[in-house]
Each structure stands twice: as structure tokens, then as C-alpha cells.
Symmetry: C2
Subunit: 364 residues, 2 copies
């Protein structure tokens, strides 16, 4: 057989082989997507961030632009920054009721709705960003998230991760467990509950209030995010000690839709949102890494990087297990989601210890 | 002002503010994408993997299906597994010449074309998978990759990453540098060059030949990928020592297009390929993590996990710097790309040491 004939034969063989494997699925998807071809869809999306807020705010704007582009102009998502349509922390309720179609926010905000949601947002001393995403996609996490959000008439997607966060800015050093007693610290979520068990007083403060409270000594310490956003807040000017993190190894952001609106979208538009949301997630994570690295290279000589003493960390681990255990006793959803998360954590950790952790420890 | 009036005012204000910020871009993208709306585009893509090969092979099939779905059936990429249209390692040349439109492969295969390409594939003891992607997107790596590939009439995208790879299967322990002298090891790329400087003999072997060569003692050791794919090759049956990795912290796969074909695609189709490629990349990385973790949990009691002694690692680091330095002297492209990579490595490492590395070391 001549080379050209052989190649044509292979081409035909290969093509028919592939078609037999996925013909039905492809035909179905073409059919269903074509139904909505050209049908213009407009959606309103509200965020919990100020307009043009770095990384998260610019990230969701790029997401909306990307959806418009990939759909040939048929999927038009209008982004409204916080407090334009609804207050920052009412986006969950507003999408649930259908007042808005979607929102971009942090999953950690909704533990008051169901404490299980805090696990989808990230757990202290557990999974990093890409581990969280792997738990979602392969360890059963996403199914549980969709199931528990469905009770609120919502359909979630991962919409970014912050990467590892820092432990916060402290006015005085933490040298022993005694230094936690009475410590007034702004630390929301499970991390704050853990420190409370060790004698600290977690204080709830809105973003705009933290700087002044820390400057005036109304609080002794505050966590925020990482070098880039922390520096923008001005913390290096008023607190000398910057602690390495333990409470947010990889917090998850979300772009979540009203479930009825989501179900009515064409398969094409649903797919575009899924792919664009994943693209946004990765870019947000990369941007955090890059800008944190840049900001830290400027900060490193100006602040003192500290690490909690190992005895304090040991006490934190015991208190954390207590917080998780007690919440699991109270809330069956929390118990189910925690079990899935912990099962994946244990499976992943053995492998990660001899792979990623090993690499990070041996490189020069 | 009534609440309703206030909200309407805000809505209008917010919307016009947004439009003024991005109206021109959006209009342009709608216009240019609509030009190609409904225009059916067929592309041929060849891979370096067997049909249905786990993770990489199934990943690229999902990518093609996704492109069809997101485009409403207008972007039809036919995937041909290795040796159907062109041999596995001729996909680069075939796409360069226009014989095929695109390929899915590993970047490390092409260092013979230009040694600089090996850096886009990953460097021993340097960046992990998400760090490589951050270097590409924010540290200038992707611009350099596009620029150097353009000389071969190619347009690259990240098309997956393997995550951290293992160091390989050894028939005898490596206790000192002496044990490397004369060691016949299958290890391609920069890693193999490093071991050669330390007295080992890197052996080139195709995948199908490795098992028999190791079983019969024709080679003393071989690297492959990680627990999941290594186990499929049967290595645990014939080599007792499984070494932690150092030579591939996060290898990059690619989905690369003939540049003329790429330039002719509509902005809509280009965007769909970019978003679907990124989605594939993340899923491939997650699938490697999950399946490696599962495979390792079954392997851990059957093999002995080993780590190279610190004196051997120190010698490897010196030899690695020598290999990189010497290649930079020979090839100006290598020198430029290496500088960009090393600049990002140094910037990132300081931050990573107090964040991700810290988290992985303190969690229980």
C-alpha cells in the first residue's frame, strides 16, 4: 500500500472508531445546543466585592466577558458589584429567591445557612486549593455541594480559590498558649471557633473597620488574606508580627446560580459557564500566587514572619478536632460532608507526603 | 428615596459604569465572533497516546467533545490516537507542516528541536504544576513559548500537567554517589543528563520495551510517571525500591495548533479552545492526583519507598546547575527562557516556603 493510501485508510478507520464510541452523546449535545443557538440570554450576577476589586472583582468581570465571547454574544451576564443590587452578604438569599440570577462570593460566608457549607469553603489544616478542587471533582465533594445547595434553590460552581492564606497580623508575639487567653482577634469561621476554645475572643468586624480597630488596640490581632491584599489594607504599618497560616490552606470562591435559571439554560450555555468558571478559578489562583509573591518580596524585610510554637499548634489540632466533632453531632449534613472531606484528606495526604511535600522540601 | 427607586437608580448607574469600561471590547468581540457564527470548522488532532489511554487519552477526547458542545456543534475536532495519522513522536512535525491541524503531547519530547522547549515542559527541582502554570500566565513563560513555537509555525496551549512524578523503580538501593557509577537507568530529559554527569548511563527505551529490559537486568532502574501508571506497567513486580522524585515536579502537556490554522479560527472558536484546554488541564492534574493517591494506598505495603541520600541530592543540584549553565551557553533561546523561569522560581519560592510548604509540613 502506498503511504498516502495507508494514511487515508487509517483516517477512515480512526474516524469511524471514534464515532462508534461517542456518536450518540455528540448527536444529542449538538441537537440540544442548537435548539438555543442564537437565543439571547441575559443574566444578572451580583458579587460580594467592590467594583474592580483586585483579583476577585476583575476575575468575575473577565468571566462574564468570556461567556459573551464564547457564546458568540448570546450569553450576556451583567456583573453588579456589592451593594448595587443587593448588599454584599445578601447575594445568597437574593439568588435563592430569584431576585438575581447568580452571584460571585466566598463559600465561607454561608455557614449560618448550614454549617456544612463551611467545609466546601475550606477547613483549617486540611486541603490546599488544588486538593480541594480534586476532592470536589473526584472525591464526591461537588455532588454533596450541589445536593445541599439545591435545598436553597441554588446551583454552585467553583469560582476561584485564594491559595494558602496567612495567619494574620499580631501586635504581640504568641510564645505560649497563655498568650492566646483573652486575645481579641478578628478571625471568622472554624479558625475563630478553634481559638475561642483556647481562650481567645474572636471579634466580628467588617473589612472597613479592621484597620482602625487594630491601630487603636480595640483588637490585638487580625487575619485577612495574604501579602498582596493585606498590604493594600495597610496592616504592615500597625502590627509588627506576621504569622504563617494554618486556618485557610485553600479557600474556595463560588459562582452560583439560581437553580431554576440554571436548569433552563441550554446545554451550550451551561457548558460555557462551566468551562469559563474553571478558567476563572485557575487564573484567580495564579494571580493570588503571583501577586502574593511580589508583595511578599517587598514586605519581607519590613515585617517579622512568625510561626506559632509547636505546643500551640498541637493544642490547635486538638481543639479543631473537637470543633469538627461537635458540629458533626449537631448537623447531619455537616457529618456527611465532613466524612467525605476527611476520607479524601487521608487518601490524598499519604501520596502528597511523598510527592508535592517532598519536592517543596528538597528543592534548593 | 424609596428602596425600589434606589435600586433601579443603582442598577442603571452600575450598568452604565460597566459598559463604559468594556463596551468597545465587547462590541468588537461580538462582531468578530458573529462573523463565524454557524460556520462549521473541522480540525484534525493527533496524539502521542494510544486510543483511550487513561487520563491523557481520555482527557483529550473530553476536550474535543467539549469544544463541540460549547460551540453548538460548529467546532468539530477529530482526535486520532498515536500512529493512526502519524507516529506518536512525529505529531510536532506533522502539525508544523500542516499535515494535521493540532496535536496533544508532552512538551518534553521536543528538546531536539530546540533545547529551550524542555524548560516549558518542566525543570528538575524547580516548579510544581500550578507554579508552572503561574509562570506561564503571569511570569512571561507563555509569551516565550508562543514566540519560540512560532518559529516552527505552531501555536501552543497548556493541555494538562502530570503533577509531581516519582523518581523511578530501582533494583538496588542508592546509598551513595558510588552507586550511581555505571547505573543503567531509563530517564529521558534533563534528569538523565544530570545523572550522566554523576557517572550513570541513561538508556533510551520506548515505553513497550522498559518492563522487559528492567526484568531481565538490561537496565538497573527506570522512571515512568507515578503510582497509577507505574502500577499499570507492572513495575512493582520486578523492582523492590520506589524512589521519591526530583526530576519532574510538574511536567506540562500541550495541545498545540498549526499556527496558520489557529490564526484563521474565529475569536469565538479560539476562546472555546482556550477555555476547554484550561478545563482539560485542571481535570488531568486532578485525575493524576486522585488516581495516584488511590494506587499508592494499594502499593504502600508492597514496595519500599526510598529517598536519595542528602549527599547524592547535593551532587544532583550541582550537576543540574552545570547542565543548565552549559546549555544556556550553547543556545540563546535556552538562556532567555531559563532566565525567565529562574526569576519566577526565586520570586515564588520565598512566598511558597512560608505558605504552601508550611501548610504541608504542619498539617497532621
Amino acid at each position: 500500500m502506498k503511504r498516502r493510501d495507508f494514511m487515508q485508510a487509517s483516517l477512515v478507520g480512526g474516524a469511524s472508531l471514534m464515532l462508534s464510541g461517542c456518536r450518540r452523546d455528540e448527536k444529542e449535545s449538538i441537537k440540544s445546543t442548537n435548539i438555543n443557538r442564537g437565543k439571547k440570554t441575559k443574566l444578572t450576577l451580583a458579587t460580594s466585592w467592590p467594583a474592580n476589586f483586585p483579583i476577585m472583582g476583575t476575575g468575575i468581570e473577565s468571566f462574564a466577558k468570556r461567556c459573551l465571547e464564547l457564546s458568540g454574544g448570546t450569553l450576556d451576564i451583567k456583573v453588579y458589584s456589592k451593594d448595587v443590587l443587593v448588599p454584599a452578604l445578601q447575594v445568597f438569599d437574593a439568588a435563592s429567591s430569584g431576585q438575581i440570577d447568580a452571584f460571585h462570593s466566598g463559600v465561607y460566608y454561608w455557614k449560618g445557612k448550614n454549617s456544612a457549607f463551611s467545609i466546601f469553603g475550606g477547613v483549617p489544616l486540611r486541603l490546599t486549593s488544588d486538593e480541594m478542587m480534586t476532592w470536589m471533582d473526584f472525591g464526591g465533594g461537588y455532588e454533596l455541594w450541589k445536593e445541599t445547595y439545591a435545598k436553597f434553590n441554588l446551583y454552585p460552581h467553583i469560582g476561584g480559590t485564594t491559595g494558602p492564606q496567612m495567619g494574620g497580623w499580631f501586635k504581640k508575639e504568641i510564645k505560649s498558649l497563655d498568650d492566646l487567653k483573652g486575645l481579641k482577634i478578628r478571625m471568622p469561621g472554624i479558625g475563630g471557633e478553634v481559638l475561642q476554645r483556647l481562650g481567645a475572643t474572636p471579634v466580628l468586624l467588617a473589612a472597613a473597620e479592621i484597620y482602625t480597630a487594630l491601630e487603636r488596640g480595640l483588637i490585638d490581632a487580625s487575619e485577612w488574606v495574604g501579602p498582596f491584599l493585606d498590604n493594600m489594607m495597610g496592616f504592615p504599618k500597625i502590627a509588627p508580627y506576621y504569622y504563617k497560616g494554618w486556618h485557610e490552606p485553600g479557600s474556595i470562591l463560588e459562582v452560583t446560580f439560581n437553580k431554576q435559571k440554571w436548569d433552563k439554560l441550554s446545554i451550550e450555555h451551561q457548558g460555557i459557564i462551566e468551562a469559563a468558571a474553571r478558567e476563572m478559578s485557575v487564573k484567580i489562583n495564579e494571580e493570588f500566587r503571583y501577586k502574593n509573591a511580589l508583595a511578599y518580596s517587598e514586605l519581607e524585610d519590613k515585617v517579622e514572619i512568625k510561626e506559632l510554637p509547636s505546643k500551640v499548634m498541637d493544642a490547635i489540632k486538638i481543639a479543631l478536632n473537637g470543633v469538627l466533632h461537635d458540629e458533626a453531632e449537631k448537623n447531619i449534613d455537616f457529618k456527611r460532608v465532613l466524612k467525605s472531606h476527611e476520607d479524601f484528606y487521608r487518601l490524598n495526604k499519604k501520596w502528597d507526603d511523598i510527592s508535592t511535600k517532598h519536592f517543596l522540601n528538597i528543592r534548593s
